[in-house]
């Protein structure tokens, strides 16, 4: 394993400390239990948004703490859900008398630990479960779909609504709505290497890809021969559109997310493929985001996320945001 690391056990602590220092103008980092939180608390009472999950997906979630997005984020070990005491400590630090809204990706570990965290706090709270990954069939009998790159779109838009002083109830309803309007799917060309493991999670031969991969390098729909960017785009967007069933002339946000090891050049090429295909289907890409936002360590590959836009979602996407990883209009 070749990484910038001192002792593998300290990788998270050192990285979080560096993260805190590099963005000390807007966020702060508390250790043991670990969480990232906003430095300059808003003047007004607002619903406090707390997310979190296993580390290794940076900038998700710590990179999205700040004005217009999260109030706090709880990073777990690499690819392991955070522990309930992190959520408890974060909640006690950032609550502002309007309740706590947890934003959780749909994985057993995250759900259980966030539930236990919620049990430990006294503040009123609600939870949004994000499950945008259409690679995995949904069914009432199973855990359902995974939460992936669409999570940051929920965090951005609900974060914006919360900033207006909206009620917990309304933030929860809006977040569930954005989640329902959002679908994602990705493909991996290489594995990631969990630092503690020291070797790649899986092996793909030189002409293979994992179609519908998860953001932890979990297997997806199938392993198959690599295909052209256009073919991949077709297959992924077909699945996404089947799920979202957009209207004619539907306006959408198109997010091309890199998993960490794929150059920007390719992500923009993928965006071009996606935009062209959607245009052909009379779907209007009126918002875009291209880059490494929900990563899987150094995994090469990427995903498409489509969010159907209505006036509210568009407004809350466009509004000012100031976080380490996403910043505009301020």
């Amino acid at each position: 394993m070749k990484k910038f690391v001192n002792e593998v056990e300290n990788i998270l602590t050192e990285s979080l400390t560096g993260f805190g220092k590099a963005h000390s103008d807007i966020i702060d980092v508390r250790l043991s239990p670990d969480f990232v939180f906003r430095k300059n608390k808003s003047q007004n009472d607002k619903v406090a948004l707390i997310s979190g999950g296993g580390s290794g997906h940076e900038p998700l979630h710590g990179g999205f703490v700040g004005y217009g997005m999260l109030d706090a984020a709880c990073p777990g070990q690499v690819f392991s859900a955070p522990t309930p005491d992190q959520m408890e400590a974060a909640a006690n630090e950032v609550h502002k008398n309007k309740g706590i809204l947890f934003i959780v990706k749909n994985y057993s570990g995250d759900i259980m630990n966030f539930e236990m965290g919620a049990d430990m706090i006294e503040h009123e709270n609600q939870t949004i479960i994000v499950n945008d990954d259409v690679a995995v069939e949904d069914s009432t009998f199973t855990t359902g779909r995974r939460g992936v790159a669409g999570t940051m779109i929920v965090e951005k838009t609900v974060g914006s609504l919360a900033e207006t002083g909206a009620l917990l109830e309304d933030c929860k309803i809006f977040g569930d709505h954005v989640n329902k309007m959002t679908a994602s799917m990705g493909v991996a060309f290489t594995s990631c290497t969990v630092p503690a493991a020291g070797k790649p999670t899986f092996e793909l031969s030189n002409d293979e890809m994992e179609f519908g991969v998860g953001i932890h390098g979990e297997p997806g729909r199938r392993r198959e021969k690599i295909k052209s960017a256009n073919q991949l785009t077709d297959e992924i967007l077909e699945t996404i559109l089947e799920d979202l069933k957009p209207d004619n002339n539907q306006e959408v946000l198109l997010h091309v997310n890199g998993f960490g090891g794929t150059p920007l050049m390719e992500l923009y090429l993928l965006f071009e493929c996606g935009q062209k295909l959607l245009e052909k289907k009379n779907i209007k890409v009126s918002r875009s985001l291209v880059g490494n936002y929900t990563t899987s360590l150094e995994m090469a590959g990427g995903s498409f996320t489509v969010t159907k836009l209505d006036a509210d979602i568009a407004k809350h996407w466009d509004s000012a945001v100031h976080t380490p990883a996403l910043r505009w209009k301020m």
Partner: protein
């Protein structure tokens, strides 16, 4: 039951898990995200660090503290579940009961809490495919005096449960995302749970 015995068992569990490190790591890489072995090892390290502090404490207190430690240091599905198991167990200890009676009652309670926490039951390709049959079996055998027989029984039930996960299509946990593709793979949590039980049973089996 006392602190010495409890920590002795944890020691044995650590040994058996370490001996199967690569295997468990691989299981979670195949149908999960590969962190299970590290979660388990971190948890074992952390609770063994409590040995001196807890050795002489009451049994229910020990279980509670072990559960809290796991809850706050492990994370992931297994952290939440094993913490729930131990904290659940801590609630049922009674100084009036025999060790086997205590263990059966405590374990049953712990597993019930896990079922609630995980919203899962037998047949969903999780560690509960090991732990639920074991807890039922323990209840049945709680008045047995031949500990070796109990241990052998439990051991077999755990192994059967573990092996049964191989051909289940998962409906809970990460493996559920895989559908058909998870078939043929043993659940990592089932394997680590079964090994832990084996470590404890081995203490009572004269080999």
């Amino acid at each position: 039951m006392n602190g010495d015995q409890i920590f002795n068992s944890i020691n044995n569990i650590q040994i058996i898990i370490k001996n199967h490190k690569e295997e468990i790591e691989k299981l979670d890489q195949e149908i999960g995200d590969g962190d299970h072995i590290f979660n388990i090892l971190r948890g074992l390290d952390e609770i063994l660090n409590l040995k001196e502090e807890l050795l002489d404490k009451p049994v229910n207190h020990i279980f509670k503290q072990l559960g809290m430690k796991i809850m706050t240091t492990v994370g992931g599905s297994s952290g939440a579940l094993f913490a729930t198991l131990l904290i659940g167990m801590s609630k049922k200890y009674s100084s009036d009961l025999s060790d086997l009676n205590n263990l059966s009652e405590m374990f049953f309670e712990g597993v019930q809490s896990m079922k609630k926490r995980g919203k899962a039951d037998v047949g969903e390709k999780t560690m509960l495919d090991v732990l639920i049959p074991v807890s039922n079996n323990l209840i049945e055998l709680q008045n047995e005096t031949d500990f070796e027989k109990v241990a052998n029984n439990i051991n077999n039930v755990a192994k059967d449960g573990m092996l049964s996960t191989k051909d289940i299509i998962a409906t809970k946990g990460r493996a559920s995302f895989l559908g058909e593709r998870a078939k043929g793979h043993i659940d990592p949590g089932a394997r680590s749970s079964q090994l832990a039980i084996e470590a404890i049973c081995n203490q009572f089996i004269n080999k």
